[in-house]
């Protein structure tokens, strides 16, 4: 499912809101979440999961073409931990097949 398919599905179910409202809402939600992570804030959605940042220490990498060492600075990467309801539902559906 892509973002536009998600918007379509929501539009089919939400009778009161216009397509434009739903389109803007989905984009605003994702932007809000990205903003939070960018400023180092966690995201906690009960039953879905949580997003946080994981630290990656600086390391020496290599240029794959030349083999020359390159020093790579420390960075943060987004991390998602699925919540219990999401874990259980995905796994139950898979087990039922």
């Amino acid at each position: 499912m892509t973002k536009s398919e998600l918007i379509e599905t929501l539009a089919a179910k939400q009778v009161q809101l216009t397509y434009k409202d739903i389109d803007s809402s989905v984009k605003m939600l994702l932007e809000h979440m990205s903003d939070a992570l960018e400023s180092g804030e966690r995201i906690e959605i009960r039953g879905f999961g949580s997003f946080s940042l994981h630290y990656r220490p600086p390391r020496t990498g290599r240029n794959p073409k030349t083999g020359d060492p390159v020093s790579l600075p420390a960075k943060y990467v987004p991390h998602f931990k699925p919540g219990k309801e999401l874990r259980d539902r995905v796994n139950a559906a898979a087990a039922a097949k």
Partner: protein, 100 residues
């Protein structure tokens, strides 16, 4: 402070003019649709944010950490998140001193 559904709904109310009930439903439905797609075995790709993928894990040996007793970890399907290029780039330079 963590970002929650309540704060997301508040943003839709303040910026888009949805009423409070519509905003709350919108946020709930958004996460519910993603869950349903994953439940159906469908990968979810949100461009600019990231992809939620599914992985099938086969059974592997495990241990009860308390008792040391060996128990198999059953085969299961799990959700993984792969942040997109854009989100990675935005987060990379975060220089905060908390270890969130």
């Amino acid at each position: 402070m963590a970002l929650t559904k309540a704060a997301m709904a508040e943003r839709l109310f303040a910026e888009l003019g949805l009423n409070k009930r519509e905003a709350k439903e919108m946020v709930d439905q958004f996460f519910e649709e993603v869950r349903q797609a994953l439940e159906k075995g469908d990968q979810v790709k949100l461009s600019g944010f990231g992809n939620f993928d599914l992985r099938n894990k086969s059974e592997r040996p495990g241990r009860n950490p308390k008792t040391g007793e060996e128990i198999p970890i059953t085969a299961r399907r799990v959700v993984t998140f792969r942040p997109g290029q854009k989100l990675r780039a935005r987060v990379e330079e975060y220089a905060g001193n908390n270890d969130s």
